[in-house]
């Protein structure tokens, strides 16, 4: 039977050599090579659950009064968008499961991309010939952040509105063009024209997913074109890649991972509540709630906004750079700038322009590892600052004291992390050298 199918396909497409090659395509084996796959499979869940949600969600800011299943909201004035999201949660059977799974998948998607990116960074997998793959991956991370933000902003619950007000303010704060850009995007002073909702919707369900899908295809095509990287081994060298072929060796492993991601996401979606929008209530300009936290992947931005001391850059009475610019735009732009330029920077400093198919262990490139740890520690402390109000609730440390500690810590701790990491890397390498010499001496003694 297989013979028959293969013949049918091959005679019409001539694809038999391609199929044969694909089946025996080599996947080097290491647990950390699976992180990107987790992101890929979360994206599949996002698309599937997302399509289902579009069948019920109504992207409209027309104000209505709620008369539905959830009695605490009875009679409240809200947008049709929010009402339809509440209805998905209470009226549509299995709707809450799909909505929560979608939200969990988004959180896991971005988390997997970030951890995958860290793996790529610390093993030097971004070096030529895979720097282009790395840039595309970074771009996907940026698009994914925006996509997630628009997703939870569309719902028009209280948190959506607060997040959008912040987004609007950050856009407004861009020097010279901010106010104009904000007027262009929102169509009016905040909360903007009603059309803004449909703009977010078409970006979230059409433009950005297609963009992510396209970049993803390009990313995977480049990975396949240059093959995977691998750690050095007896047979694993710069010229030869060793691992399990797609079929039968690798396919069941990858499918196992796919089903695990699906399974865990649906378990989370069914059992662990996330973004209970009915509790937040509808958004109105005059409303805000205390202790609000965005989805985790925006924590670094809220942290940066909170850590900034209170000043606008002004010349006399002329405001040049309003405050939110630094935390909301300057900080993330700088982080992405560093990540984009790192391969070039490293090439410049080390003079290493060679092709690399073998990965570094983090200790093998102590300076990269140390600087990387310092850099990500810096970002991480800013991220933690985004939850300072929650830390206050849990540990009782005064909010303003925390902010002052972190304003200092973001500059001190990374330096310590740098020195410590460099030291650990050097010690590990030295330990190995001692081991090698000991073994050589032992062999000599035996002989």
């Amino acid at each position: 039977m297989i013979r028959g199918i293969v013949r049918f396909v091959d005679e019409r497409s001539g694809a038999a050599p391609f199929i044969k090659k694909t089946l025996r395509y080599v996947f080097p084996d290491h647990w950390s090579f699976l992180l990107g796959e987790v992101a890929l499979y979360s994206f599949v869940v996002l698309v599937m659950t997302g399509i289902y949600l579009t069948f019920f969600f109504k992207p409209s800011l027309t104000q209505v009064h709620y008369h539905g299943q959830y009695l605490p909201l009875e009679g409240r004035s809200m947008s049709e968008a929010y009402q339809s999201a509440v209805d998905i949660s209470f009226r549509v059977k299995a709707g809450l499961l799909i909505r929560q799974t979608h939200h969990w998948a988004a959180d896991v998607f971005v988390a997997a991309i970030v951890v995958h990116m860290l793996r790529i960074f610390f093993t030097g997998a971004f070096r030529k010939p895979r720097d282009l793959t790395y840039f595309i991956g970074l771009t996907m991370l940026g698009v994914a952040l925006l996509e997630g933000y628009l997703g939870y902003s569309m719902v028009d619950d209280l948190l959506s509105g607060m997040g959008l007000a912040i987004g609007y303010s950050v856009l407004m704060s861009i020097p010279f063009v901010g106010a104009n850009l904000a007027q262009l995007v929102w169509g009016d002073p905040y909360p903007g024209k009603h059309e803004f909702e449909s703009r977010m919707y078409s970006m979230h369900v059409l433009v950005l997913p297609i963009l992510i899908g396209t970049l993803l295809a390009l990313h995977l095509a480049l990975v396949a074109a240059r093959h995977h990287t691998q750690f050095r081994g007896r047979r694993a060298t710069e010229r030869q890649v060793v691992g399990a072929p797609t079929f039968p060796g690798y396919a069941p492993r990858s499918l196992g991972l796919l089903f695990s991601v699906f399974g865990i996401l649906f378990l989370l979606g069914g059992l662990v509540q996330i973004n209970p929008i009915w509790q937040w209530g509808p958004y109105h300009v005059a409303d805000a709630t205390n202790g609000a936290q965005p989805d985790w992947y925006l924590g670094w931005l809220i942290g940066a906004l909170r850590l900034m001391p209170n000043f606008d850059v002004t010349i006399g009475n002329y405001t040049l750079v309003p405050n939110p610019f630094w935390g909301g735009a300057g900080f993330p732009l700088f982080v992405f700038f560093v990540l984009y330029t790192w391969p070039w920077l490293e090439r410049r400093v080390t003079g290493d322009r060679a092709f690399h198919n073998l990965l570094d262990r983090p200790r093998d490139a102590p300076w990269r590892t140390a600087i990387g740890v310092a850099f990500f520690t810096w970002v991480f402390i800013v991220f933690v600052a985004g939850s300072a109000d929650r830390l206050f609730v849990f540990f009782g440390i005064s909010y303003s004291v925390q902010i002052w500690i972190m304003r200092v810590a973001i500059w001190v701790v990374p330096v310590i992390a740098l020195a410590l990491t460099k030291r650990v890397c050097d010690e590990l390498v030295r330990g190995e050298q001692v081991e090698v010499r000991r073994k050589a001496a032992e062999a000599e003694a035996l002989a």
Partner: protein, 330 residues
């Protein structure tokens, strides 16, 4: 009976099972290894468990009397996928030793690179006025690009930022609460923060909502030009934080005045803190501009009215925000 059952089992289970072909004349691609029957049983069990969970899903969906339907739906679907994953891992164990190697592609293909370059170079030789063509073509490209971008301007009034200064407040406008009741001065108690809106105006704009508090008149440290803006010590400020546009919904007040900090407005988004006694001055957090104050007056009946517009533009800042004053709009 036992023997009959045994024979039946052999018949059913034994059917279709092929002996591994040994000694095939072609070179093997997937290496031969004797199968592990217990592992195969395990995989089959996992598949059946996945099927059972998957069947449970539509059943749970159909039976409305089940409490916590969402949880059970998630449980059945999630477990179905996880059992599938377990089956895959079992299958993977059977082929775990399938390993192969492949040469990496050469770093580059200099010959083809040169040929590509040659194709373009030789094409270029067919044209003599290359510079002119490049310039003209480039001009066309840029002009057309600009033309195609033009419709995007319909999104919003990109060149008109004047409406950012507009608020619905003007002299004489009454303050109403969340349900539209007119606020009276004698209802404003100390230690409470009230939200107020302009009467008969759209509330869904940043210029509309106010926070109203009462301080002791001797606490006030307003600048000289704002004398009389806070009758009886009642103060009104914009409710929208000048940092990132969130609504100020926290009012910090001392419960033990001797040692605790004095009254302050706090925004819950980034904890910008404003001093109501000192004309909305920023005392903590990231806000870079004081909170705009609305002058109040108490009308003859004791109701609160605006005595003018805000001291400055409302909401988040932008470049040149302080160039104009707040203006009264609809």
């Amino acid at each position: 009976m036992k023997r009959w059952l045994g024979a039946l089992a052999v018949l059913v289970l034994g059917r279709g099972r092929r002996k591994p072909r040994l000694g095939d004349e072609r070179e093997r691609i997937v290496q031969l290894r004797f199968p592990d029957r217990r592992a195969e049983g395990f995989v089959a069990f996992a598949f059946i468990a996945a099927a059972v969970c998957a069947i449970a899903f539509p059943v749970i969906y159909a039976v409305d009397s089940i409490p916590a339907q969402t949880q059970f739906l998630g449980l059945s679907l999630g477990l179905a996928f996880l059992f599938l994953a377990v089956a895959c891992v079992g299958l993977a164990k059977g082929v775990i030793d399938d390993e192969t190697e492949e040469e990496y592609k050469p770093p580059s293909n200099p010959e083809e690179q040169e040929e590509v370059e040659q194709i373009f170079a030789e094409t270029g030789e067919r044209f003599t006025r290359r510079k002119l063509l490049w310039t003209a073509g480039g001009t066309a490209g840029v002009a057309l690009g600009a033309a195609l971008v033009t419709p995007a301007l319909s999104l919003g009034p990109v060149f008109h930022t004047g409406s950012l200064y507009t608020t619905p407040w003007r002299r004489g406008r009454r303050l109403v609460d969340e349900v539209g009741r007119v606020l009276r001065a004698d209802e404003i108690e100390q230690g409470v923060m009230y939200t107020a809106f302009p009467e008969h105006a759209d509330r869904e704009q940043m210029g509309a909502p106010l926070v109203v508090v009462r301080l002791k008149p001797e606490q006030l440290r307003l600048p000289a030009e704002r004398k009389g803006w806070a009758p009886e010590g009642i103060l009104a400020y914009s409710k929208i934080c000048t940092h990132a546009g969130c609504a100020i919904s926290l009012y910090r007040k001392p419960t033990f005045a001797v040692v605790e900090p004095h009254e302050a407005f706090v925004c819950p988004c980034h904890y910008s803190t404003f001093d109501p006694a000192k004309a909305g001055k920023v005392i903590f957090g990231p806000a870079g501009r004081d909170l705009p104050q609305l002058p109040l007056q108490i009308a003859r009946g004791g109701e609160l009215r605006a005595a003018g517009n805000f001291s400055g533009p409302v909401g988040p800042s932008w470049w040149g925000v302080r160039l104009h004053k707040a203006r009264s709009g609809p």
